[in-house]
C-alpha cells in the first residue's frame, strides 16, 4: 500500500485490475486504491508473474502493507506440490554432522525410511568427496566394533575387547584401592607469565591458567609413565599417548571427562583451543564416543570459588586422577621472604596395585618443577 | 472481605459452631497436637494463631500463616502444633493417628492429638480405618466430630444409614459421648474430662459435638437445602448469645464490658486487615521453593 499523500496512513483497496497468474511489467496499473481524498491507480515497480493477492478488495490496510506477491521473471518456479519448497528429510544429528563436515545436505541421498538422510549417509558423502580422509567413525555393522581407542603400545594382543565397565564412581572407589597424596605449588611465576603473555593476545586467543596445569601434568607423566595407564582385563597397560581426560561439570549437575588427545605434544595455544572446544561440546552433549573412552588419566578441578583441595575418584579403567583446588593467595616463603603468592593445592589419587607413594610423590615434584618454568610448557 | 474480592477460592465460615472450637481448645495444652478440617479458622484462632496471620493467609500474602500457599483451607502453625486444615473430607484422620503414634513411640506421655472432623467424614473409609487403628493400637487421639447435621447439601439422615454417630464410634470400642455443641460451658466441661482420661490412659476417646452452622457450607453455596425456620430455631441457641446471657445472669459482665469486648474485636479485625493489606506477595522467583527440603544435588 503506497503512500499517496503526506498525511495518508491507511488506504482501502477498492479493486484489483489484474489476477493471479497475470504477467505484469514495471509501471503497469494493477489496482485502484481509495483514500479520503480520491481513488488512485496503483502501479507495480516489479515485473514478473502475480503469484497471489494478499489483500481482499474493500479492506483497509495501513500504508506499507504488501498487497500482492509478484514472482519476478527468472525466479525458480515453485514446485507445484506445496507452497514452501520441499522439506529436506534429514535427522537433526545428521544435519549437525553435515554442518560440521561441510557437506551440503541437499546433495546427500538418504537411506533412512522415506529417504530420510542419516549420519552414515553424510559420512559416506563426506568420504566420497574426499576419499583420503576416513569417515570420523567407522561405519557400523560391517566392521568389527571399534578397537579400544587408546591404542595399547606394548600389548596389541587385544581383539575387540568388550569392556563391561559400570562407570559408577562408587564401584570404582570400592574396586580400586585408592591412596592419596597432596602438595601445594607456588604459582607466582606461572601466573605472572600468564598475565604477561595474555596482554599480547587477542581476547579470543587468551589462555586460562588451566592449560598450564594440563600441559604440566602431561609432561610430568613422562617422568612417572606408570600413571598413564589403564586396566584391560586383569592387566595394566601403559600408554605412549598421553590423552588427558578433562573433568567437565555439566550445567544441571553431572560430570563427564572426555579426552584431549596427545596433550603432551600440543602447544599452549592448541591446548587452549582444544579445551575450549571440548567444554562447549560437552555442555551441548555432542561428544564423540572416542573422546569419552580415550583418556589415559583424568584431571579434575572444581573451579575458582570452591575448596582448596579436591581428592578425585579414579575413573575406571584408569589408574590415577589429578585434582586441582582453586588458585588462592597465601602467605608463602619463597627465596627466604614471606610474600603473598598465588598457590594451588594439587592432589593425586592413584591405584595402589599399580604404583606407590614414592613414585606418586616423584610425579608431584616433577609437576611442581615444570610449573616453575611456565615459558617451557 | 470475601465480597470485596480480597479473599478468593473457597471459604467455609464457622459462625454458629464457635462453642466447639473455644470449648475444646480450653481443655488442650501447648503439647497437644491439633488436626482440623477446611473449616478451621475457629480452631486456629482459639489455639492462638494471630488473626492477622490468618487474614494475611486468606489475602494470599507472604506474611500469612502458610506464606499464602494454603489459603483459608490450609492454615498451619507448627510452633503451636496446629497441623492444619485438610480439604479432603476425612483426609486428616489418619494423620492424627500418626501424630499420636509418634508421641507414643517416642515415650512422650501425657499428650494427645485432637482430631476435628465433620459428620460428612463419618461416611468416609478413612473414618472407619482410623478409628479402628487408633483403638487397636490404643493411641491417645481425641476424636471430635462436629455434627452440624449437614454434609454440605445433604442432611445427615440421607447420609448415614446409622446416623447415631456416637454409637458408631463405640462399635470400635472407643467410648463416645454426645455433647451440646452450642453451649461452650458444656463443651469445655466434656472436653476437659475427655482430655484428662486420654492423657491418663493413652487410649482414644470420641466426642460428638451437636452443633449447627448459621451460614451456608461455603461462600459458593446458595444454601437452598435448609428451611429458614430451621435456621431460625437454631439461631435461638446462638452460642455467643447463650454465653453472654449466662455471664450477665451471674453478674460477671455488664453492658460496658460487652461493648468494650466488641470494640476490642473490631480493633483486632481492622489491625488484621491492615496487616494483610500491607503484607507483601511472595516473589514469583520463589515459586518452586519448599517443594523439597533438599533439592537433588
Amino acid at each position: 500500500m503506497p503512500t499517496l499523500g503526506a498525511d495518508m496512513s491507511v488506504g482501502i483497496l477498492s479493486s484489483w485490475l489484474k489476477k493471479p497468474g497475470d504477467t505484469v511489467q514495471r509501471g503497469d496499473i494493477i489496482a485502484v486504491v481509495h483514500t479520503d481524498k480520491a481513488d488512485v491507480e496503483v502501479e507495480t515497480f516489479a515485473s514478473g508473474v502475480i503469484e497471489r493477492m494478499l489483500v481482499e478488495p474493500g479492506s483497509e490496510v495501513p500504508v506499507g502493507t504488501p498487497l500482492a506477491v509478484i514472482r519476478e521473471s527468472g525466479e525458480a518456479e515453485p514446485t507445484a506440490a506445496s507452497e514452501q519448497e520441499a522439506r529436506l528429510m534429514i535427522s537433526p544429528s545428521a544435519r549437525e554432522l553435515a554442518h560440521e563436515l561441510g557437506v551440503d545436505p541437499a546433495e546427500v541421498r538418504g537411506s533412512g525410511p522415506g529417504g530420510r538422510i542419516q549420519r552414515k549417509d553424510v559420512e559416506a558423502a563426506a568420504a566420497a568427496r574426499d576419499p583420503a580422509r576416513p569417515p570420523p567413525s567407522a561405519p557400523r555393522p560391517a566392521v568389527a566394533p571399534q578397537a579400544p581407542a587408546a591404542a595399547p603400545s606394548a600389548d596389541d594382543r587385544g581383539a575387540a575387547m568388550r569392556r563391561a565397565i559400570g562407570a559408577a564412581m562408587s564401584r570404582s572407589k570400592r574396586e580400586i584401592p585408592h591412596f592419596y597424596l597432596g602438595h601445594t605449588i607456588d604459582l607466582s611465576r606461572a601466573m605472572s607469565w600468564l598475565t604477561e603473555s595474555n596482554v599480547h593476545r587477542s581476547v579470543s586467543e587468551r589462555l586460562l591458567h588451566g592449560v598450564l596445569l594440563l600441559k604440566a601434568v602431561a609432561l610430568a607423566l613422562r617422568v612417572v609413565p606408570e600413571l598413564n595407564a589403564t586396566w584391560q582385563g586383569d592387566e595394566v597397560v601403559r600408554h605412549d599417548d598421553v590423552n588427558i581426560g578433562v573433568a567437565i561439570a555439566l550445567r544441571g549437575g553431572g560430570l563427564v571427562a572426555p579426552a584431549i588427545r596427545h596433550t603432551d605434544e600440543l602447544s599452549l595455544d592448541e591446548l587452549m583451543h582444544a579445551f575450549r572446544d571440548l567444554v562447549t561440546r560437552a555442555r551441548r552433549y555432542s561428544l564423540r564416543s572416542s573422546e569419552i573412552s580415550a583418556p589415559t588419566i583424568t584431571v579434575t578441578s572444581l573451579g575458582e570459588r570452591t575448596v582448596d583441595t579436591v581428592f578425585g575418584v579414579i575413573f575406571p579403567p584408569q589408574v590415577a586422577i589429578v585434582g586441582f583446588g582453586a588458585v588462592v593467595e597465601r602467605l608463602w616463603v619463597s627465596d627466604g621472604q614471606v610474600l603473598p603468592c598465588p598457590v594451588v593445592s594439587v592432589s593425586l589419587s592413584a591405584d595402589h596395585r599399580v604404583t606407590d607413594g614414592h613414585r606418586a610423590s616423584a610425579f608431584l615434584v616433577a609437576l611442581d618443577r615444570l610449573l616453575q618454568e611456565p615459558e617451557e610448557l | 472481605m470475601y465480597s470485596a474480592a480480597k479473599i478468593h477460592g473457597f471459604l467455609h465460615l464457622y459462625i454458629g459452631e464457635e462453642a466447639v472450637a473455644v470449648g475444646v481448645l480450653q481443655a488442650l495444652t501447648p503439647d497437644d497436637a491439633i488436626v482440623a478440617t477446611y473449616r478451621e479458622h475457629g480452631q486456629a484462632l482459639a489455639r492462638g494463631v494471630p488473626a492477622a496471620s490468618l487474614m494475611a493467609e486468606m489475602f494470599g500474602k507472604a506474611n500469612g500463616s502458610s506464606r499464602g500457599r494454603g489459603g483459608s483451607m490450609h492454615i498451619f502453625d507448627l510452633a503451636r502444633r496446629f497441623y492444619g486444615g485438610y480439604a479432603i473430607v476425612g483426609g486428616g484422620l489418619p494423620v492424627a493417628v500418626g501424630l499420636a503414634l509418634a508421641d507414643r513411640l517416642s515415650g512422650r506421655e501425657g499428650r494427645l492429638t485432637a482430631c476435628f472432623f465433620g459428620d460428612g467424614a463419618v461416611a468416609e473409609g478413612e473414618f472407619h480405618e482410623s478409628l479402628n487403628l487408633a483403638a487397636l493400637w490404643e493411641l491417645p487421639v481425641l476424636f471430635l466430630c462436629e455434627n452440624n447435621l449437614y454434609a454440605m447439601g445433604t442432611p445427615i439422615r440421607q447420609e448415614l444409614a446409622q446416623p447415631d454417630i456416637s454409637l458408631r464410634a463405640e462399635s470400635y470400642g472407643i467410648p463416645a459421648e454426645p455433647v451440646d455443641g452450642m453451649d461452650v460451658i458444656a463443651v469445655e466441661e466434656a472436653a476437659r474430662r475427655a482430655a484428662i482420661q486420654v492423657r491418663r490412659t493413652g487410649a482414644p476417646l470420641f466426642l460428638e459435638l451437636r452443633t449447627y452452622r448459621f451460614r451456608a457450607h461455603s461462600m459458593a453455596d446458595p444454601d437452598l437445602y435448609r428451611t429458614k425456620d430451621e435456621i431460625g430455631d437454631w439461631r435461638q441457641r446462638d452460642p455467643i448469645a447463650l454465653l453472654e446471657a449466662r455471664l450477665r445472669e451471674a453478674k460477671l459482665i455488664a453492658d460496658d464490658d460487652v461493648s468494650a469486648l466488641e470494640s476490642d474485636v473490631a480493633a483486632e479485625l481492622d489491625h488484621a486487615v491492615g496487616v494483610a493489606e500491607a503484607g507483601p506477595f511472595e516473589p514469583v522467583e520463589d515459586l518452586t521453593k519448599d517443594v523439597y527440603g533438599r533439592s537433588a544435588q
Binding site: N198, S204, R206, L208, G210, R251, E304 | -
Partner: protein, 84 residues
C-alpha cells in the same frame, strides 16, 4: 550505544553461553557466577562474545570488578560512550 542496548547485547551473549537458563529472572545486582553457575571458561567466552558483539576488549585485569550484569553495563557504557 544506550545502556539498554548494551544490556541486551550482554544478555544475548549470555544466552549463547548458558542455553536453557531463564535470563528473564536474572537479578542485575547479584553476581553472575552464583546465579548462572558459570566458571572461568564461561567468563572467557563472555569476554570473547562481548568483543564480537560490542567491539569492546575486556582485559583480564578488569575481570574482578565485573561480577554483576550492572557492572558489565557500567563498564561497557564508559568504553562505548566515546564511539556513539
Amino acid at each position: 550505544m544506550t545502556d539498554d542496548q548494551i544490556r541486551e547485547g550482554v544478555l544475548r551473549v549470555l544466552a549463547g553461553i548458558v542455553p536453557g537458563a531463564d535470563l528473564t529472572a536474572l537479578r542485575p545486582d547479584l553476581g553472575l557466577r552464583d546465579q548462572l553457575d558459570i566458571d572461568s571458561m564461561d567468563y572467557l567466552n563472555l569476554a570473547i562474545g562481548i568483543h564480537e558483539e560490542l567491539q569492546v576488549d575486556i582485559p583480564e585485569s578488569a575481570y574482578d570488578q565485573l561480577e554483576t550484569l550492572d557492572d558489565f553495563v557500567r563498564y561497557l557504557a564508559e568504553r562505548t560512550s566515546g564511539s556513539t
